[in-house]
């Protein structure tokens, strides 16, 4: 699959939310932990050899699951191949927690859900659609019923 690599490399050089040296292990059997500069930019996780300008690779953080494996270790799996885990070793429990939180928030899908929540809330409280003034209220991606599965609330106690 082709992708615009030059532009992605350029993206990897942008200021990032989170960047740190972590121990990274690939998903294949026999992959070992290697020290990598890991950098979170928008919904991509770039990883570099320390002091190198061009990233070795990037992970698109959509349709993935982040899990805490240990006090200082977290993993990322992609939903289409959940047996393959990328492991990241942090330097502290706190750092690990920060990375997990940041990666969860780093997906477009996550932001979309936030936006729909705020939009609906504001509309509920004010009767007005906050997106209307920006002329984007009709966009597919901002619709509540845009194929999203709202988690049903457990009403058995009511």
């Amino acid at each position: 699959m082709r992708f615009n690599e030059k532009e992605m490399v350029s993206l990897s050089r942008q200021p990032s939310e989170m960047a740190a040296e972590l121990g990274m292990r690939g998903p294949k059997k026999g992959d070992v932990v290697k020290k990598r500069l890991v950098k979170l930019v928008v919904n991509f996780l770039f990883y570099f050899r320390t002091d190198e300008e061009e990233p070795i690779g990037a992970l698109l953080l959509e349709q993935c699951r982040v899990e805490r494996e240990d006090t200082q270790v977290f993993s990322i799996v992609f939903l289409d191949e959940a047996e393959r885990k990328y492991l990241f070793e942090c330097n502290s429990e706190e750092q690990c927690g920060e990375w997990v939180d940041s990666i969860i928030k780093a997906s477009y899908e996550f932001m979309r859900k936030n936006l729909i929540f705020y939009r609906t809330e504001i509309h509920r409280l004010t009767g007005k659609d906050p997106l209307e003034q920006y002329g984007i209220s009709d966009e597919t991606r901002f619709q509540v019923n845009n194929g999203l599965q709202l988690m049903p609330r457990d009403t058995s106690s009511l």
Partner: protein, 285 residues
Amino acid sequence: MKLNERSVAHYATCDSPPDKTGFLFKKGERNTAYHRRWFVLKGNMLFYFEERDAREPVGVIVLEGCTVELCESAEEFAFAVKFDCAKARVYKMAAESQAAMESWVKALSRASFDYMRLVVKELERQLEEIQGAGAGGLQGRPKSSRSNQVARSRSGASTSSLSSSSSSSSSSSSAPPTAGPSPAQKGLQDEVQLPSDSSKENGVAWSKPPAAWSNGSADGASCVAWEACTDPGNNHGARAPPVPPRRRGASLESPVSPGTGCFSKLHDWYGREVEELRTQWLQSQ
């Protein structure tokens, strides 16, 4: 540079809703003919397939940081996706109608993660403002004004069926989807069980809707949640998404700079850009 291509291709074809789909002509890189491809826009990723029912995309254009412009072309309804980096490729495309072109230009120029983040931040800010205004306790306004606020909101189309009793404040907790519980929302936790395990799925990390979604008969519990969340300062600290990074080299306030602080201004620019493109096209006819 490596990319988790299999998973990216899966994202293209999985059942997460696309933001836009349609046929476009795309100019080849070496072969300069225009090829008709099926395009699927999801978030900041523009996938293209050989055919509409192809199982795997031919390729993807990561749209982060791009600008979209009309371009001079023998081809009708042409536009270009450009990037601000050295030796960046220009993606020339053409739509099949004026309307399609405008629609794609609009969608692509707003497809970036940064743009989405700005919109979310803006709405978050608005919601906090509304809740700050409504929280009678915090600003010394009498309770009745809060009830009025709630009463007013009922006249708008509302999905939740609010009870008519004014003592029942089924106004929401201010809890948007978050990765984990925050101290200000402890009151909400009694009602909403956040997962105790630490596995969070990207895209489904919001595991429990806040009470406001489905709860029409909120009573004391909601009130507690409301009270617990009326500290905007604390909430903001716990919930605020990270500020979008400033692009190096881009001026602070410009249509393409995610550093542009004022959302309305940025949005005006987007709107104006589309207007200008439209005028240009009309004039060239």
